[in-house]
């Protein structure tokens, strides 16, 4: 079985767990989970040197999911990699659970708790710096959001990491072009994100964030003779893989409800289920899926700019 196939299987399972976890818990951020699923799958299936039997192994690669609201994706990957049981995923958000909505380090395999944006890259920088000082060879990965790049601390960390030539650091930007209320460009114009990171001195690579071969190649790119930190700008689609969720800001917050939403989400995933993957929840898919009615909220524009028309400036909202 080629390596892409293994990471594709893991990515599918992350998406399937994500749908189930948000469905059961009423939790938010399924759009972000689907967006980041391929990035996390490639990292855990192919790149990160980690040991589920020895989660605190000092030689492991460090991983920080700075966009901690996509925590369900990380929990799913860790469970599938054997850090804890996949059964525990069902407790996401529940009273007494270890699986808080945002990433918690009180769980084997999690190096750093996140949830407030703009923290993870600095912590990863500190870990990478310490590794360099101590002559250790492991790498440090941090996944951040594009909306998270609004936070000034991200750019403080970007300056610092380049200044200290932290070539053992890889930042991955889940560039799905959307944030909490709207598209990034309609919130705080990011412009040419790659040019910004290049201007900060980083080894900057742009990839299709759903193409596993491209992701793997970028993460393997340690042939970086300028000794710069690497940023992989992964162009992604929020809600990727479930058509009615794709590029719809509604699904940053909404969870798949009983009925056509859940049935439709599961059916969409089953339509592209890689060979050899077993769905732990609905092995045969949903046999008789409910179809969305005429009043189903599909394809409507829920962005802020759809209803926000200030007079004081003349910017046109971009689709």
């Amino acid at each position: 079985m080629d390596s892409n196939h293994i990471s594709e299987q893991l990515a599918w399972l992350i998406r399937r767990h994500g749908v189930e976890m948000t469905h059961l818990s009423g939790g938010s951020h399924i759009g972000a989970v689907l967006s980041v699923a391929d990035i996390i799958a490639v990292l855990y299936a192919e790149i990160l040197h980690v040991d589920a039997q020895n989660p605190d192994w000092d030689g492991r690669d460090r991983f920080i999911l700075s966009k901690g609201h996509a925590g369900a994706a990380l929990y799913a990957a860790l469970a599938e990699c054997g850090f804890f049981s996949t059964e525990e995923l069902k407790t996401h958000y529940a009273n007494g659970s270890r699986l808080s909505g945002h990433v918690s380090h009180h769980l084997p395999g999690v190096d750093f708790s996140t949830g407030a944006l703009g923290h993870g890259l600095s912590a990863a920088v500190g870990m990478a710096l310490a590794a360099r000082q101590d002559g250790k060879k492991h790498r440090v990965f941090a996944v951040i959001g594009d909306g998270e790049c609004d936070e000034g601390s991200v750019w403080e960390a970007a300056l610092f990491a380049n200044h200290f030539r932290l070539e053992n650091l890889v930042a991955v930007i889940d560039h799905n072009k959307m944030q909490s209320l709207d598209f990034c460009e309609n919130t705080l114009e990011l412009g040419d994100l790659a040019a910004k990171w290049r201007a900060f001195g980083w080894n900057t690579i742009e990839v299709d964030g759903h193409d596993h071969a491209q992701l793997k190649k970028a993460f393997d790119n340690i042939d970086n003779d300028r000794h710069r930190p690497t940023v992989v700008i992964a162009h992604t689609v929020k809600g990727k893989g479930i058509s009615f969720m794709e590029n719809d800001i509604l699904w940053h917050y909404r969870f798949p409800h009983d009925g056509w939403e859940y049935d439709g989400a599961v059916s969409a995933l089953h339509a592209v289920r890689p060979e050899g993957v077993v769905d732990p929840y609905t092995p045969e898919g949903v046999p008789d899926p409910e179809k969305p009615g005429a009043d189903a909220d599909i394809g409507n524009d829920h962005t802020m700019s759809a209803g926000y028309h200030p007079h004081f400036f003349g910017r046109e909202a971009k689709p």
Binding site: H105, D111, F112, S113, T114, G115, A116, G118, H119, L121, S122, A123, A124, V125, G126, M127, A128, L129, A130, A131, Q133, D134, G152, S153, E156, A157, L159, F160, H163, F164
Partner: protein
């Protein structure tokens, strides 16, 4: 106090290569001895306190003991969420050092005055708060926090604050230090404001008041035992801090007192929930807010009548 801290830390860091200082682009002249002697244990993080604190957390989680260094409110309020989420929640071995607690940088204006920092740091679970009152306490507190696991806040004065102690036998985290016994009034002081206490005592003695005096180099954990013992023995408890009276040292003492039934009344001497809009040096501002020796004595006498 600043130089004492640096000198002490150099001695310890020479023996312990895991100690790191990360400065927020401050410490001109002061940190030079450190980075010249221990260049591999020093990082200038630039003018970027959020990142400085996040980086410190990351380094600490890799086994280092990291001192973040800045002045006024910059190492605390500017990066409060990084202290809370990245340091304290992770029980990271980060020691936050503030040069210039209170009105140290008085003339520079309100932006540089740390007058709510004790309250805010104290409110964070897992953060121990240290406010040494003189050079000897500064040295002892520095040594103590190196060995104290987890996140600490060290609030320092700046100059050659008066020596209270020749030396301290058996400095303990969470223990007040008795300077001398007295009658009717127990006077608790934290931080460099202690230098005003001697003067206040002289003024009080003219009215026949001879307070017992204690210094509290640790505000959190607080010395409950000493507070409760004094509350039973004395007519009045007085707290003195170069800080807002809301949430700070006085409040910490009040919390202890409120948990027992029969206690002496408490007089909290500090800033009465205000910022300073006045211009002047530390000495001048203390006097304007009743935090000089005369002001402290006056408030105590008023409370006794």
């Amino acid at each position: 106090m600043r130089d004492t801290f640096v000198r002490t830390l150099i001695e310890i860091a020479k023996e312990n290569s895991q100690i790191e200082v990360v400065s927020g682009d401050l410490g001109f002249g002061v940190l030079k001895p450190f980075y010249e002697q221990l260049p591999d244990q020093f990082i200038n993080a630039g003018i970027a306190e959020q990142n400085m604190t996040g980086v410190a957390a990351g380094m600490a989680l890799e086994g280092k003991i990291v001192f973040t260094y800045s002045i006024g409110t910059f190492p605390t309020l500017r990066c409060l969420e990084q202290i809370r989420n990245d340091c304290a929640y992770h029980e990271a071995n980060v020691k936050i050092v503030c040069i210039g607690g209170g009105f140290v940088y008085g003339s520079l204006g309100m932006s540089h005055q740390a007058t709510e920092d004790i309250a805010i740091m104290r409110a964070l679970p897992g953060v121990a708060v240290f406010c040494p009152g003189d050079l000897v306490e500064a040295e002892e507190a520095t040594k103590a926090i190196v060995n104290y696991p987890g996140t600490c806040y060290l609030r320092l004065g700046r100059g050659g604050e008066k020596r209270i102690h020749d030396k301290i036998e058996n400095f303990q985290i969470g223990k007040a230090i008795k300077i001398h016994d007295g009658k009717r009034v127990a006077l608790f002081s934290t931080g460099a404001i202690f230098e005003e206490i001697r003067g206040a005592e002289e003024i009080l003695s003219q009215s026949g008041i001879c307070p017992a005096v204690y210094t509290f180099p640790t505000v959190k954990p607080i010395d409950c035992k000493t507070i409760l013992e004094c509350a039973e023995r004395f007519d009045l408890i007085v707290t003195v801090e170069e800080h807002n009276i809301v949430g700070g040292f006085g409040s910490a003492v009040a919390e202890v007192l409120s948990e027992q039934g029969n206690y002496a009344p408490l007089l909290k001497i500090g800033l009465h929930d205000t910022y300073s809009t006045l211009v002047g040096n530390q000495k001048y501002l203390r006097a304007q807010f009743g935090l000089d020796a005369a002001g402290i004595a006056k408030q105590i006498l008023e409370a006794l009548t």
